[in-house]
């Protein structure tokens, strides 16, 4: 028996049947029928945001910390266009999200009606897929399809644009069990031949490395478990991209730290010198490879990815295995054990000796002296005082993000939420709110910069409204720090518009919102301030005043290779001479 109900009721019912417990949204004219249906039920809890961009980042944080899709509900026109940044962010970082947008009534589409925009046109390149629903009888099917597309294969954002008349109209509801997708069938199992070839190539390696990324975390807890098992069985060193942090424990013996532009000396040198590279759920991004023609020149490469278009995109690989990480790693482990493969023990001993030599450079060394707080010290103390399986860290984008990635250490997946691909300032606080909604009892900290935090500061109001006790730890250097660093290194220290004049008093600002504010200006006060932050109930903003001109090191300068890193305190190069004119042209 098919049930009939209004389009708005179909939306709520479909969300409930998809297991959605929380949605993040903002009402407006073109979604009022859905908000009305929302009012008359208790299955789904709605979080009212202050700006639609905030809703998308909350959904991202929610999704990243739970491996469930994040759901957003916004109105037409500006509601949809404000969501575009978060949609693009989710597309770049492969975050499953379903965004429902209201649209003007069908008969007004194309007439430049009030709050009309071409939502499917605007969001086509920044979503995995999108739909404009023209018939209420298609609505349920489309919504279930949207969840299928968002969460299967390489995850991503999906927009469902629903005109207001469709929300009012009455139509048939079908449940999620009856939905099969016509054309979208991502391949989950890796080819057996490719897996056997990959195992054979790895078994012959003398200097192997696992280069892991966000795909391991997207694949789920089983993928993380298998990666750790595979690493232990083989003894291969492991590095991760920014998005992959936590898939291998930072406390694990084979951990090399993050790789890439601000990765560790040992990770990048191991990438450069390895002879077999196994890329697992990562995509050879330019922040990872540096100079492409000098990227790991002596290695043969295996690439495991669920998205076939990533294989051979930036870097040619010998073996591309298309499939879900957990599936492929499970098969590789089975083949590895069945074939009795082992790595050459003496070669591995030499390889690890070489890696230990790089480790001995202590590339993350910094000197905390005097009362001026080094930002690295702030993150380090924050880590020591807050670490644990129930702690979740989000960040904004910039220097503080890199210091967080370098000095906060993650032993578990899904504990680290950051905007990697798009690099969206303003991501961190709303993401933290989303995480806190999913994990009410967890400690959720947004490590922020004073510039980034102002891009979505209004969401502090959301945190206060729902009493979500997120902690916002601002590393305040009064500069757009990463911009300032690049201007120092690449543009002759001409600090064009990177100084944040007229900063607000963040303590008073927090109080104005009804949150608590703390300030820390001396290194000696760091621990006490962090403890006070933890002891203060509700949302807390910490304004931590740090060294204004500290730079992020190590750094692979633009246009350089992995083995041409700049090391700050740990190195002795002249920084101002390190970047060639050619390198200055790159972003």
């Amino acid at each position: 028996m098919t049930e009939t109900m209004t389009g708005a009721e179909i939306v709520i019912r479909a969300l409930a049947d998809q297991g959605v417990a929380h949605i993040f949204g903002y009402p407006g004219g073109a979604v009022l029928p859905i908000y009305d249906a929302l009012f008359q039920q208790n299955a789904i809890e709605h979080v009212l945001v202050r700006h639609e961009q905030g809703a998308t980042h909350m959904a991202e944080g929610y999704a990243r910390s739970t491996n469930k899709p994040g759901v957003v509900l916004v109105t037409s026109g500006p509601g949809a266009t404000n969501a575009v940044t978060g949609l693009t962010d989710a597309l770049m970082d492969s975050i499953p999200m379903v965004c429902i947008t209201g649209q003007v009534p069908t008969h007004l589409i194309g007439s430049d009606a009030f709050q009309e925009c071409d939502t499917v046109g605007i969001t086509r390149p920044c979503t995995k897929h999108n739909y404009l629903v023209k018939d209420v009888n298609d609505l349920a099917q489309i919504l279930h399809e949207a969840f299928f597309v968002a969460t299967n294969g390489r995850p991503g954002p999906v927009v469902v644009d629903i005109p207001k008349d469709v929300q009012f109209a009455t139509g048939r509801y079908v449940g999620p069990e009856n939905v099969v997708h016509k054309s979208y069938h991502p391949k989950l199992k890796g080819d057996v031949d490719k897996i056997k070839a990959a195992v054979e190539l790895l078994a012959g390696a003398k200097k192997p490395i696992f280069y892991t990324g966000g795909g391991v975390i997207n694949s789920g807890p089983e993928a993380t478990r298998l990666l750790r098992e595979f690493a232990e069985v083989t003894g291969v060193p492991v590095t991760s991209t920014l998005m992959g942090l936590g898939c291998y424990p930072a406390s694990g013996p084979q951990w090399l730290g993050m790789l890439g532009m601000h990765g560790t000396y040992e990770a990048n040198n191991a990438m450069h010198d390895c002879d077999v590279m196994v890329c697992i759920g990562a995509r050879f991004d330019d922040r990872i490879t540096g100079r492409l023609d000098a990227f790991s020149p002596g290695s043969r490469k295996i690439h495991i990815d669920i998205d076939p278009s990533q294989i051979n995109k930036n870097v040619k690989v010998e073996i591309g295995v298309i499939g879900d990480v957990a599936n492929v790693l499970g098969d590789m482990l089975r083949v590895w054990r069945a074939s009795g493969a082992t790595l050459d023990a003496s070669a591995m001993k030499e390889w690890w000796a070489e890696i230990d030599g790089w480790r001995a450079r202590d590339c993350l060394f910094f000197r905390q002296s005097g009362e001026t707080i080094k930002p690295q010290q702030a993150v380090k103390r924050l880590y020591e005082l807050t670490k644990g399986p129930n702690t979740y860290i989000t960040t904004e984008v910039g220097q503080h993000q890199m210091w967080a990635a370098q000095y906060y250490r993650f032993d578990e997946p899904n504990r680290w939420m950051t905007s990697g691909g798009l690099g969206t300032m303003g991501y961190g606080m709303p993401a933290a709110i989303g995480v806190q909604k999913a994990h009410p009892d967890a400690l959720v900290i947004d490590i922020a910069g004073e510039a980034s935090i102002q891009m979505c500061i209004q969401e502090l109001s959301t945190a206060v409204q729902y009493n979500l006790p997120v902690k916002i730890f601002i590393l305040n250097n009064e500069y757009m720090g990463m911009v300032r660093q690049w201007q120092q290194l690449l543009h002759g220290s001409r600090y064009s518009h990177s100084y944040s004049e007229a900063l607000p008093d963040f303590v008073k600002l927090a109080e104005a919102y009804g949150a608590s504010g703390l300030r820390c200006e001396k290194a000696g006060d760091l621990d006490a301030t962090i403890r006070a932050m933890l002891d203060t109930p509700g949302p807390v903003v910490v304004d931590c005043i740090v060294d204004k001109t500290e730079n992020v090191f190590p750094m692979i300068p633009s246009g350089r290779a992995h083995n041409e890193m700049l090391l700050g305190e740990a190195g002795e190069q002249r920084i101002d001479e390190a970047i060639t004119d050619e390198g200055k042209m790159l972003v």
Partner: protein, 183 residues
């Protein structure tokens, strides 16, 4: 300043050989599907030399898009996988790589002239097996089908004889042999 080589941002500095490829794409005939395909080409900087699209199955509402593109082998491979991951795309075949495919294009071409020029245009049209589908005292419209280079050649010949305008459909292509392209 010389552009640096080997960076992800300046991959064009290498000059791998370019090749022309014909791709056949089966898609759901739904609103926006063509915009998705074209947007992928413009968004990622790929070339479209020719594009043809029409529904090919009334029951299943499948459309077939034929795109002729030019690029290095790696880029064409990227185009294929990027197309394949679009949700409404059922399958993509590189007819140039699978070999032995047939390509045809239809062209309507208007030529204006009098006297000898007019007679010459008609004679050449016969040689190219072009049909006259409209005629006035001072003009012809020819309909001609064939491989794209045959049509190119016909245009070259008509140019001095009073070529007015050209309308081409773009390439339709299909693989030889008994096997079909499956959705």
């Amino acid at each position: 300043m010389r552009q640096p080589t080997g960076s992800a941002y300046f991959m064009d500095d290498q000059h791998p050989p370019l090749a022309r490829h014909t791709l056949a794409i089966l898609v759901d005939n739904e609103p926006g599907v063509l915009a998705r395909v074209i947007g992928l080409f413009s968004g990622r900087g790929y070339n479209i030399d020719s594009l043809t699209v029409s529904e090919v199955s009334l029951e299943t509402h499948l459309s077939r898009i034929t795109i002729v593109t030019t690029g290095p082998a790696g880029v064409v491979d990227q185009i294929k996988t990027q197309l394949d991951r679009l949700v409404p795309v059922h399958s993509v075949v590189d007819l140039t790589l699978t070999g032995k495919s047939l390509e045809r294009e239809l062209m309507l071409i208007k030529v204006r002239g009098k006297g000898d020029q007019r007679a010459e245009a008609l004679r050449l049209a016969e040689a190219f097996r072009a049909r006259v589908i409209d005629a006035t005292i001072e003009s012809f419209i020819f309909e001609i089908t064939g491989k794209p280079d045959k049509l190119d050649q016909f245009i070259v010949l008509m140019a001095p004889l009073g070529l007015v305008e050209v309308s081409r459909t773009g390439v339709a292509a299909i693989a030889r042999g008994p096997e079909g392209m499956t959705g």
